[in-house]
């Protein structure tokens, strides 16, 4: 083969090799986790010695596990509702009445991307110790913390939807039809940005669900969430990889569906940096 042709041959196969290696690298940890959920003993060979379904049964009947899961779920749901209630009016007002709101929101929305969550957690701990010691260590503070760090995702999702629907124009049209701001919000704005709100909600839920740093620093074992529980199962005295695998699988499935749904709702928009969710949530 001529040198040039050989180079091209290497190039073509090299490309597929690289992509294949990436695929293996990405799937291997997932495969390992899934196998742990179904395996009995796994200490000697590449694959588990035997398989079983009993872990699933024991997991669902484990009170602590169920408590943890419910707690995490309720917290995430609460944070999501709060974010929706707090942010939608602000964005609506920003688009229809007071554009000066925007710089404030955009500035604060940039902070969780620059600042590691542990720094934020530490800061909140420190500040709350000085000013509102009663709230320190409670789940309410944690919830507010989650509301704050997840808000950029919600904001960008809804802001994008507002732009796409050309809300200022619709708002003007509504006014010429005699609608009050509240009526406009309910009947004109909300239906048109519904997909943005839905996407944003799912992102917020995923952030809160997976979050670790704030939970550990602000409340610790007083409010054990899935991430804290997982840590205990991984490195604690009662390490239980099988149970951990099950919880991880469940978490993954939930977060995956959220992300898939948000991609589906956002098809046609290509803002990849805003769609990258789960990674940001577990600093």
């Amino acid at each position: 083969m001529v040198l040039a042709e050989r180079m091209r041959w290497i190039g073509r196969w090299g490309r597929w090799l690289l992509l294949a290696t990436l695929l293996v690298y990405l799937f291997l940890p997932i495969v390992a986790v899934v196998l742990y959920a179904f395996s009995t003993k796994w200490t000697a060979h590449i694959l588990p010695d035997a398989y079983t379904l009993k872990h699933w049964g024991s997991a669902l009947s484990d009170v602590r596990l169920v408590d943890v899961a419910l707690r995490t779920f309720v917290l995430a749901a609460g944070v999501t509702v709060l974010d929706v209630l707090l942010i939608v009016p602000a964005i609506y007002w920003q688009w229809t009445r007071n554009p000066k709101i925007r710089p404030h929101l955009e500035l604060t929305a940039a902070i969780p991307f620059v600042l590691p969550y542990i720094v934020i957690a530490f800061g909140i701990l420190s500040l709350s110790g000085q000013f509102i010691p009663t709230l320190q260590g409670t789940v309410w503070l944690l919830a507010l913390g989650h509301v704050a760090i997840a808000f950029p995702f919600f904001y960008w999702a809804v802001d994008g939807a507002m732009a796409a629907a050309n809300i200022p124009l619709l708002n003007e049209a509504a006014q010429t039809c005699g609608a009050t701001p509240l009526k406009t919000l309910r009947q004109i704005v909300l239906p048109n940005v519904a997909s943005g709100i839905a996407t944003g909600s799912m992102l917020v839920f995923a952030v809160s669900f997976n979050e670790f740093a704030l939970v550990q620093i602000l409340v610790g074992a007083r409010f054990e969430t899935i991430s804290l529980y997982s840590l205990d199962l991984l490195t604690g005295a009662n390490a239980d990889f099988n149970k951990l695998a099950i919880i991880t699988c469940l978490t993954f499935v939930i977060v995956f569906f959220m992300s898939a749904a948000s991609v589906y709702l956002n098809r046609g928009q290509t803002q990849t940096s805003r769609l990258v969710t789960g990674a940001k949530s577990t600093k």
């Binding site: 490309r15 690289l18 992509l19 990436l22 695929l23 690298y25 990405l26 291997l28 940890p29 390992a32 986790v33 000697a44 590449i46 707090l86 942010i87 602000a90 007002w93 920003q94 688009w95 009445r97 007071n98 554009p99 404030h104 604060t108 902070i111 620059v114 600042l115 590691p116 542990i118 720094v119 530490f122 800061g123 701990l125 420190s126 500040l127 507010l144 509301v147 704050a148 200022p168 006014q175 997976n210 670790f212 740093a213 991430s227 997982s230 840590l231 991984l234 990889f241 951990l244 919880i247 993954f252 992300s259 898939a260 290509t270 990849t272 940096s273 969710t277 789960g278 990674a279 600093k283």
Partner: protein
């Protein structure tokens, strides 16, 4: 902004009513800002104020007076210095390897046909969802004492073991699980900048592929690749959950990082809170510097486009 004009003309009364009294001014201000106040209070209170508090705290001594002793302690402490260097090193290694692997892959994916492309983008998006403690577990399951790869190496008779999950390189592997897809997703839109007819034009000018990349392709892509590197770097130095789960606690810990040092001090609840604040501010400063460099890099591309 076009909408600004229409908002003002649509919303403010056209007779130019100017609020005079204090009460009127306050009412007007409330009318403009009320719906946004709750979130702004939460955002400023929980994102901005804590940072300011940390900054102040880093200069606060035990008794409450101004001091630079905390800063001096941290800079003098060997373990703290090591933590800073390791954090920077880990971030840089992870970012660079993500660039080396993710860069070409982003290029390949950007050239694929739409169907193939969406499949790959979906896979990458899915990978970014698998993170946190669960991901740490995944890597223990692969690289740990009884991990899949470790056992595989043993069974195949390979004389050495893969990096342990808590070691420097183990952490790099774990970080890259999120960082490579992150890098690809961030730079893939930048790849579209490179037009196919530039490649063809270069050919008609007698250039080889190599020459094209050297003179045109890479210079144009460098700001985007550099921006991706910086974002991945900033992200990596701030990671906490994964290194905490992998690197272990106390004596068994093999790798010291800024985030872990901070957590150590907080968990122990001793009087070193000022030091922790210093470390936090150091982290913040590195991140801020990174972000500024990122904006500068992106700004430079404006000259060409």
């Amino acid at each position: 902004m076009d909408s600004k004009v229409s908002i003002e003309s649509a919303v403010l009364p056209s007779d130019g009513f100017q609020p005079r009294s204090l009460l009127q001014k306050v009412t007007q201000w409330l009318a403009d800002w009320l719906p946004a106040l709750p979130i702004l209070i939460v955002a400023y209170g929980l994102l901005v104020a804590p940072v300011v508090a940390l900054l102040i705290q880093s200069f606060l001594s035990q008794e409450g007076g101004f001091t630079v002793a905390n800063w001096a302690e941290v800079l003098a402490s060997r373990s703290d210095r090591r933590a800073i260097v390791t954090s920077l090193g880990l971030g840089a290694v992870s970012a660079t390897s993500s660039l080396a692997i993710g860069g070409p892959i982003a290029w390949f994916i950007s050239r694929m046909l739409p169907v193939q492309r969406s499949v790959w983008l979906a896979i990458l998006n899915m990978a970014t969802n698998f993170s946190g403690i669960g991901l740490a577990f995944g890597f223990v399951a692969i690289l740990g004492t009884f991990g899949m790869l470790t056992l595989a190496f043993k069974e195949l008779g390979i004389p050495f073991a893969p990096p342990a999950p808590g070691s420097f390189w183990g952490l790099v592997l774990a970080y890259n699980y999120t960082n490579i897809p992150l890098f690809i997703l961030l730079t893939i839109s930048g790849m579209g900048i490179l037009r196919h007819d530039w490649l063809e034009a270069a050919q008609t000018c007698g250039a080889t592929q190599w020459r094209f990349w050297r003179s045109i392709g890479l210079p144009i892509l460098t700001p985007f690749l550099g921006a991706g590197w910086l974002l991945v770097f900033t992200w990596s130095i701030g990671l906490y959950g994964i290194p905490f789960a992998l690197a272990g606690n106390g004596a068994t810990r093999k790798v010291t990082l800024i985030t872990l040092q901070i957590s150590d001090i907080l968990q122990a609840n001793i009087s070193g809170q000022g030091n922790a604040a210093v470390l936090a501010i150091v982290l913040l400063a590195i991140a801020a510097l990174s972000l500024l460099t990122y904006r500068w890099m992106i700004g430079r591309t404006a000259q060409w486009f």
